[in-house]
Symmetry: C2
């Protein structure tokens, strides 16, 4: 349907306002070049991030805002209610009931807003069948069904090959597990999609087991079905996972583990992005993920000079949920650290743990720490009221690099915060400009913890610690049920 839309007569259909969480196919942008569409409100543009940036600079796209997923869904019901929704499903029956299967994701939310908001819902399906395996979208919410006669395209976005995990990433994973997961007792959490968190997943059954953490941390997840979590699941670490979306190749494995995943009567996953984002916001004690840039205040962004990737769910999960009213040990401890001398402890809120993890120098030896975010240049160029910041510094509680952990909850003013950031920024310019005396003082107060402060020898950060060393290992760990996409197979 994206293709079909890109071929309509621009004299008849033009200047559309697209409210679209994921802008991922070339056709999603072609329609802005041809004038079919003009204004865009979106959340995520992963593979199209460079082109979308060029088109914004060139004035071909009039930007509404770069939302977090849940925020865009919210506006679907208030002031950005779609008039027409183009959705994709695995199959439809002759009445129009839809089976969206493992990749249900945003569909129920988009359909509910559109259909009950008096809009039209058009579904592209892979096939028409007599009876759908289960009804994900009831027929009376669907107005048109288009038989595309082939499955809709899905990208394996969450597969990280263990073979590509570096020893530096293993070190940051050890730091996170021993320095954060263990002391805070983090049971309910979300992981980002980078290699650092993949390393954590692969260290749970080895390093985590050795620390005696099984059953004490990482039991309940808001997470896409990461293949790198298979060894931990098989070792009995995980009680339950609710997922935003699915992952290519994980279908049969999830079908075999209905005790862990939210699968339906037909055996396949029912993902739901709106509910999982809500879970990430309100029911998780920790969000940990990577970024491309962190500034001296701890603000982070994945915007670079030439790419606007959007942030997906990170701004939502990487923020303190101020409407939260249920306590947990992890949350209360973080709150106490931020405000140890509260006059009335019962009026002190807890804090969500929001952790940025990465190497001081990322891909291509580009420093992760910067004096000024590239997001600010984008804001200048496009005259945006808000720079596209992924996670704000005042929501970040910890930064983990190979040099150590900075606990920003313990910082008492802006200077301390800046030196805590510099103190884990290694040999980047930001790191080298540290005030050594102040950093040493922060280390004495445990605002900064070095590997040795946590009893971790960087030389132990060895690939032998990984519970799986390759995609093939993951497949074997799944009992052959995980079926990696061909691009990840080299055997």
């Amino acid at each position: 349907m994206a293709k079909a839309l890109s071929k309509v007569d621009v004299a008849k259909i033009h200047d559309l306002h697209m409210v679209q969480s994921g802008v991922v196919l070339p056709e999603h942008l072609d329609i802005f070049e041809s004038g079919i569409a003009r204004r865009l409100d979106f959340s995520y543009s992963g593979p199209q991030s460079a082109r979308i940036a060029r088109m914004m600079f060139g004035g071909q796209i009039e930007l509404g805002a770069v939302h977090t997923y849940l925020e865009l869904f919210a506006r679907y019901f208030i002031d950005l209610t779609p008039k027409v929704a183009l959705i994709a499903a695995v199959s439809a029956d002759r009445e129009g009931n839809l089976y969206t299967g493992p990749n249900t994701e945003d569909t129920p939310t988009v359909v509910e807003a559109t259909s009950f908001g008096k809009g039209l819902v058009v579904a592209q399906v892979g096939e028409i069948v007599d009876r759908v395996p289960r009804v994900d979208i009831p027929a009376d919410q669907v107005h048109f069904v288009v038989d595309a006669k082939r499955p809709f395209y899905v990208e394996p976005l969450f597969t990280r090959d263990p073979a590509a995990i570096t020893e530096t990433q293993i070190l940051t994973a050890m730091l996170a597990i021993k320095g954060l997961y263990m002391p805070y007792g983090v049971r309910r959490l979300n992981h980002g999609i980078g290699f650092n968190t993949a390393a954590i997943e692969l260290l749970l059954p080895t390093y985590g087991e050795r620390l005696g953490l099984k059953g004490k941390v990482c039991t309940h997840w808001a997470l896409n079905p990461h293949p790198t979590l298979i060894p931990a699941i098989e070792a009995g670490w995980v009680e339950q996972i609710h997922s935003f979306g699915s992952e290519v190749g994980m279908e049969d494995y999830m079908r075999a583990r209905p005790d862990i995943f939210f699968t339906g009567p037909d055996g396949s996953l029912r993902s739901n992005r709106a509910f999982c984002q809500t879970a990430g916001l309100y029911a998780c004690d920790m969000f940990i993920g990577s970024t491309l840039q962190i500034d001296l205040a701890g603000n982070s962004s994945t915007v670079t000079g030439s790419r606007v990737a959007g942030f997906g769910g990170a701004p939502n999960m990487g923020s303190d949920a101020r409407g939260r009213r249920h306590p947990s040990e992890a949350w209360l401890r973080a709150g106490r650290e931020a405000d140890p001398s509260a006059a009335t402890p019962a009026l002190r809120r807890g804090r969500k743990l929001v952790v940025q993890i990465g190497e001081t120098f990322g891909d291509g030896m580009v420093p992760m720490f910067v004096e000024r975010l590239a997001a600010l240049d984008l804001a200048d160029k496009l005259q945006l009221d808000l720079a596209p910041v992924m996670v704000y510094g005042d929501d970040v509680t910890h930064i983990v690099t190979e040099e150590g952990i900075a606990n920003l909850l313990l910082c008492r003013d802006r200077d301390e915060r800046e030196q805590a950031v510099r103190g884990v920024a290694g040999y980047t310019e930001v790191g080298r400009a540290r005030d050594r005396k102040m950093v040493e003082h922060l280390r004495q107060r445990k605002v900064i913890q070095r590997p040795e402060d946590l009893g971790i020898d960087p030389l132990d950060a060895d690939r032998s610690l990984l519970a799986a060393h390759s995609i093939k290992d993951l497949m074997l760990a799944s009992g052959g049920l995980y079926r990696p996409p061909s691009r990840f197979r080299n055997w």
Copy 2:
């Protein structure tokens, strides 16, 4: 089903953990007295608030936490996934497809978490029909259907009789409209369910019209179908309303206004509490509501010595959404007021407007302002980690009373905040203990605005300003489509 559950054999079924957003029927508590249930995680207990408090004090209920709705829904997918869900529907067909109709509310969320989480879903329906008017819950998510042979009970919770609105409430409504809605240009908002906000709704087509605000404020709502909004809807003020739930008697009126309400192909409302709470959190610029107690820091709670009513959605909507990434005039202006001298404006976030509105002395001449919240005594008594605070002071941006508006965004320290609170607390003890000089200084800085500062003469706060003076007027304004429950009819 609540009745049936209360009659099971306690020798066989006991110590249940109830995860239930609304505890509203006597039977919902009977099961704790008999030992059938032991632990409770909930959000709202309106009519049962006194008994639930007694049972907590008496140790008959082991309290998990008092959640906000969205927070409890979040935990359904993470660590509080129901094993059995008892739900109610208007009708079912013979396959088990459910029609939940206008009061769909929490049902899709509860069912999705339970059914895909491998639990059992048991639905009580008013009748079994050949074909349901629309499918709200597909049959394959439902395991048992019980024909109750009568409709499930619904309370008219959101109906406020215009006849009971006082002139003091009208004055606070005028202050809110002229002092907040107008300068901030609040288009997307949620109202609480008290008489003060009902007064605002009834002043829009009169006082609001006179101020030239039509089309400029109050166009998009996250709101239950309040009968007091009918005159504003009929006067063309409202573009769209998404609702948490329905309201008794509003069914036909909503059916006649599909341009405003989210109605289905069958013509009846589809409410959805999870989506509407999400909308209230992320897509609204203002939450305005009443409370029973406000302390010197602006913390508020509806807990009193003898009642634990729960907070429903207020903590969620009455909090700053730190994951929000889209700007609006209202939100940006509030952010500028809180931090006028930001070094990097593009890094400054906006702020949600969170307004507490009420009279300095409430029902029975009980002061709204207190030195210490009763919620703290409850926390002491039950040894809770967190006092049950509804809205925290650091999220509140304005307090409106008949004495004026306190703008807490403009306060620069704790003392200023305290004096701003005292400065609108009237003749309560908290108000009389004000530092007169400092309050006068705050008034010069417009931190406090009196009615006269806004050009409002309290003598103009007259009932003649209300667009409807009675429930009958509301019915007439609806063209006879609003059918008030009998208890509200006196003609």
